[in-house]
Amino acid sequence: QKEVEQDPGPLSVPEGAIVSLNCTYSNSAFQYFMWYRQYSRKGPELLMYTYSSGNKEDGRFTAQVDKSSKYISLFIRDSQPSDSATYLCAMSRISSGSARQLTFGSGTQLTVLP
């Protein structure tokens, strides 16, 4: 079983819809939770990060972490065609070292239809 599970989709929604993307994880040592967006043929780019449980909002994006359930979510409001991409969740442990090893989910492919 993978440490981080993510529904690969694909997920198609109409423009303006609310999108919910989710990951579950098994390792309770994970403390930092991130969402990366990857456009086709491009490298991933960081969208949001959260530390421990709670919600964080940035524009149309809300990241939610529920550590008791080992479940994280990314919500996209008023989705746009430009949001069409693969969304990867990632997480890491607290570390005193200089490199924080990220463990990624397998990504959810999202298409927002105009």
Partner: protein
């Protein structure tokens, strides 16, 4: 003004050959990484260097050898290429001294082994 750059972007080669991928970052970061992304978009760390020192070395065949001539460069050399090495290889970098891990990714090198 590319932050993390990789060359080449595409690499097509025969089984058994040796090839190298180069990575450079101009962000002043201390830590650099190599990731492999398979056909199912699963992104897995291979190596990490901090200030030219190897600090993460995942279970990767020893045909893969990273080299960091300075903290702005991290190259990946692959000996005796196999069909299973076909994937997209991403270089990334991150700054030190942050509690979370924002990694900046390059555009990727798409390796096809025939």
């Amino acid at each position: 003004d590319t932050a993390v750059s990789q060359t080449p972007k595409y690499l097509v080669t025969q089984m058994g050959n040796d090839k190298s991928i180069k990575c450079e970052q101009n962000l002043g970061h201390d830590t650099m990484y190599w990731y492999k992304q398979d056909s199912k978009k699963f992104l897995k760390i291979m190596f990490s260097y901090n200030n030219k020192e190897l600090i993460i070395n995942e279970t990767v065949p020893n045909r893969f050898s990273p080299k960091s001539p300075d903290k702005a460069h991290l190259n990946l050399h692959i000996n005796s290429l196999e069909l299973g090495d076909s994937a997209v290889y991403f270089c990334a970098s991150s700054p030190s001294g942050r509690t979370y891990n924002e990694q900046f990714f390059g555009p990727g090198t798409r390796l096809t082994v025939l």
